[in-house]
Amino acid sequence: MYKYDAIDQQLVNERVAQYRDQTNRYLAGELSEEEFRPLRLQNGLYIQRQAPMLRIAVPYGMLSSKQLRKLGEIAKKYDKAYGHFSTRQNLQLNWPKLEDVPEILAELATVEMHAIQTSGNCIRNITTDQFAGVAPDEVIDPRTMAEVMRQWSTFHPEFALLPRKFKIAVSGTEQDRAIVQAHDIGMEFYVDAKGQTAIKVWVGGGLGRTPILGTVIREHLEWQHALTYCEAIIRVYNIHGRRDNAYKARIKILVKALGIEDFKQQVEAEWLHLKDNPNTITEAELARVGQHFESMPYETLPAHDSSFDSAIASNPAFAAWVKRCVHTHKQSGYRAVTLSLKPHGHAPGDITSEQMAVVADLADAYSFGELRASHEQNLILADVKLSDLLPLWEKARAAGLATPNIGLLTDIICCPGGDFCSLANAKSIPIAEAIQMQFDNLDYLHDIGDLELNISGCMNACGHHHVGHIGILGVDKDGSEWYQVTIGGKQGNDASIGSVIGPSFSADEMPGVVQRLIEVYIQERTPEERFIDTVRRIGVPPFKAHVYASKEAANV
């Protein structure tokens, strides 16, 4: 993974000094609440219900074991000994003290980490596929470009105070796993007819209050121009994006208002001026950054391993875990492993300091000392030998990190919701926990198969509920907490936004509602169909009918 040189390190150190000074000025009363706000936000510090919340950047999800160990120590020293991996490949601490943040940042800087631009109206952490570099369907490893873009976007002076936050995702696979269509800019890398790396550029996607999938603004962009083209897009947005109403300030609203043709014309006109400026990427720079992402020193291994095969045959629990948590790898004899942060009955994405230490050790022992955070809020060890899977599983299981539920109904994506977030309409974590307990039977869970369930505590959609096969949204009705249910949302190349099935439900009803949705699916499915396929084939009405029929019956 990328290692800092003197320039990177100096920048992060200077940031710590700058932020320490800003915090001191605020504490001394020299900065008002309102003036300090954008400053702390650009550093990932929110003030929430219980306490401040600090969001630490995990650029495109990559972490070293050393970094994770440090995160565990920080959570222990300055917080309640746990952290929360978010859907944007960041780590959040829920209870740090405002006065401690400069110290936390100083500690982060010692392991090449920071909280720069993890919040605020600026270019945020750039996200990508958690299997970057190891996925068999990968065309181009997007991490090199993600790192080049990370550096370019860090303190980009022109885009320091945009109308609203700005999220960029990059992807280099056939099957999109970075949800490029749900980002302000999505960069999809591919190899063009001439054998050159090219980019398909999407713009104006985003979830939140007004869920909109992105539109292609350019089918073919040469990689050299990735930065200058983004500059053109963001410049048009910076000038013309609305600043009078935060709910209408995202680029998606501007793109919709102007229409993609008009918007594109403005961007292209701007780009004529910016194209070939010094931010144009050179072969040399790409190679310099790219050397950090070269393949791991893999051993030459056969495609099969007999100890692994016999463990699968004799140990059903291990086999179940392999089925859900182990993924194919481009290198023969290797696998990628997802460590589930979704044990049933716990807040999705949460991880204790002790677990962080365990994962760091596992990464050192079995995966070249590196790991990734996924936007599904799990951790990935990307390069594990087949023969190491059994011992890895045993250790992960002992630490509560081997729930065999990846991609299943209980692998819930969930925002912090009303327990932590002051914007929430409703709690989301208890709903996730209740649903997980309802479906605690693993055989049943495996029978239901691939299903994505997403929960957001309000329309800001931090839990991506619009693209969940089942989406749950907290709504406020006369001051009490209710939940609206959508089905048919999907991420990926054929992304779609879910449809609301009808009036909302109380918290108590939610596990039963999900249960009934599943009943319809089990009843209607063809042998190959996943839940989402059945929804797409038969539509919302049968689901709606069954859910509300039993609701009415219950009310009689």
Binding site: I7, L11, H240, R243, A257, N277
Partner: protein, 199 residues
């Protein structure tokens, strides 16, 4: 004591900012109705009456674009004496301003007024003035200008900053050097880090 930073020092402000009088009428706040009005949405603009009632004193004056436009001929002489600075608000389309003034370098000073700290359009406007429209003279940020914008303003082509009156310019000065080696190319340093040094 002056609150003006120019280049890297605090200096006296020689310019008088011309502010159209408040005529007691309702402030005009344009509503978003059409997309083309996005940039005007909710922003204060001076009415024709206000512009007509504006008095322009002697000496070096910083004049709002719309006031200058209404008094273009009367001010022509003073412009050539280097006595007129042009004040552009962040919601004014810079292309329109340039189309109207033709040669922006006739002004000894161009200032960009930012009503709120969070309004980052000022950075793009500075950048365009320097890189596209070739402005060479003093480029100043005025309005809600606080210490924590300075580094970005400098990188966007500004070389003077009128710090908000209730703040200490001496302290603000320090922020110009918050970071020593910025990553990306911008107006002040055109080359990105990897072109400047052997990384």
């Amino acid at each position: 004591m002056s609150n003006l930073i120019k280049d890297n020092a605090i200096v006296a402000d020689e310019w008088t900012r011309v502010i159209p009088p408040n005529l007691g009428e309702e402030t005009v706040r344009k509503q978003a109705g059409k997309v083309v009005l996005f940039k005007l949405t909710g922003e204060e603009t001076f009415s024709d009456e206000q512009i007509a009632a504006t008095l322009i004193p002697a000496g070096k004056v910083l004049v709002p674009f719309t006031v200058w436009r209404a008094n273009k001929d009367a001010l022509a002489n003073r412009v050539s004496q280097g006595e007129v600075g042009l004040l552009i608000a962040t919601h004014e389309a810079i292309e329109d301003v340039i189309a109207e003034v033709k040669d922006i370098n006739v002004f000894a000073l161009v200032a960009v007024y930012v009503e709120r700290f969070a309004d980052g359009r000022i950075f793009t406007i500075g950048n365009l003035l320097r890189t596209r429209f070739g402005f060479k003279n003093e480029l100043r940020a005025v309005g809600d200008v606080l210490r924590d914008q300075l580094f970005f303003l400098k990188r966007s082509g500004f070389n003077s900053y009128l710090i908000r009156a209730d703040r200490n310019a001496q302290e603000a000065l320090r922020s110009l050097t918050d970071f020593s080696e910025p990553y990306q190319g911008a107006v002040d340093i055109a080359q990105p880090a990897w072109r400047r040094t052997n990384r």
